[in-house]
Amino acid sequence: MGHDPDNFIAGLVEGLEPVRPMRQREGVGLTLLAMLVGIAGMVLGFGMRADLAALRPDAMFLLSSGLFLVLALASAWAALDMARPFVGGHREGWGWTALMAAVLPLAALVEWAADWMGGSPAIPDGDGWHCMAYGLGWGLVTALALVLWLRRGAPSRPQSAGMLAGVAAGSAGIFAVTLYCPHNDLLHIGFWHGLSVVLAGIAGRLIIPSLVRW
């Protein structure tokens, strides 16, 4: 570095190639496609829960899967937008959605605590880790799409972008799992499904920054 400023600028100008500005809608399209791949993989590979296949879905399923889907969309939107840096940008909206989704594990905790005080604490089913593992696995497709988008852009806060991409991927993955998972109990959904999103967020925060730093 430290070249003559005029020569330096002339060199950059000489090397200019037309670029397509990154549009948020393209990132959204890419992410939705990745989510659809995850959903298709889960449903085609493992089948669909019976009540959904019969078009008579349980209310708890509708509520929990809806929350995870909205969280996936809101956090993916924020992560995608972080590829285009901007001083004064506000991307805190996803946090309210995360708080809303956090009601599920919190409600599960309250239910567990109430049972515990009643002397018969329920414990989360041991097979729930399957849901968590599938959620994390299928979430990788969404994570890949978001990482590709962020690498193309210039995220000025790679750790936040990584965490958001992780939460989006985890929520998208667990949404795909809810279409298969037959459980309707709060403890299973709050613990295992919620844990999947939390772990994905932590993994995103730890792993993705090194992939998108520029």
């Binding site: 100008v13 285009r84 004064g88």
Partner: protein, 174 residues
């Protein structure tokens, strides 16, 4: 910056489409803006390097500029990112003074104040800001910074670490 926001946004849009003349004008304006942006927080001998480093990032990441948004906040985010990156690099510079007296054009005062590095530093606790200033900007040793601030050497290191972390988290804050 000499050109106004609308002109800069137009130049950046043209540059994205491959217009070299517009790009040269844009980079020239960006360079002038960056020189003033960094001058209070970077030693004079290092400013040119940092400006060129930032312009290189502008060149590589031109697609991340949204022509529907103002140009300066985008450039400022890139400049802040490169600045924090620059602070992370350990170096000890020769003793040089920082220029605190250069005037700011009145027409751009508002936007400059909004995106300035001063504003970023103002959001740091005094102890962290002082430790970063002494060690990372003025190039003093940890022992000298410790003596100057009255903080223990380990506290100076902790304050630098926490301060840089906080600066990185605030890059897009207006």
């Amino acid at each position: 910056m000499i050109a106004d926001e609308a002109t800069l946004a137009r130049l950046a849009g043209l540059a994205q489409r491959g217009d070299k003349q517009a790009y040269a004008a844009l980079l020239g304006a960006a360079r002038s803006w960056l020189l003033r942006f960094y001058r209070r927080r970077v030693l004079p001998a290092q400013i040119e390097d940092l400006v060129q480093d930032t312009l290189l990032s502008v060149h590589r990441k031109l697609a991340s500029y949204d022509p529907l948004r103002p140009f300066t906040p985008w450039l400022a985010a890139i400049a802040r990112y490169r600045f924090v990156d620059h602070l992370r690099q350990v170096y000890r510079a020769e003793e040089q003074s920082l220029d605190h007296d250069l005037p700011v054009d009145s027409e751009e005062e508002a936007i400059a104040a909004r995106v300035s590095l001063e504003r970023l530093f103002a959001a740091l606790p005094e102890a962290q800001s002082r430790a970063i200033e002494l060690v990372k900007i003025e190039g003093r040793s940890i022992a000298e910074a410790s003596q100057s601030t009255g903080q223990s050497e380990s506290l100076v290191k902790v304050n630098i670490h926490r301060g840089l972390k906080r600066l990185a988290a605030m890059i897009e804050r207006a």
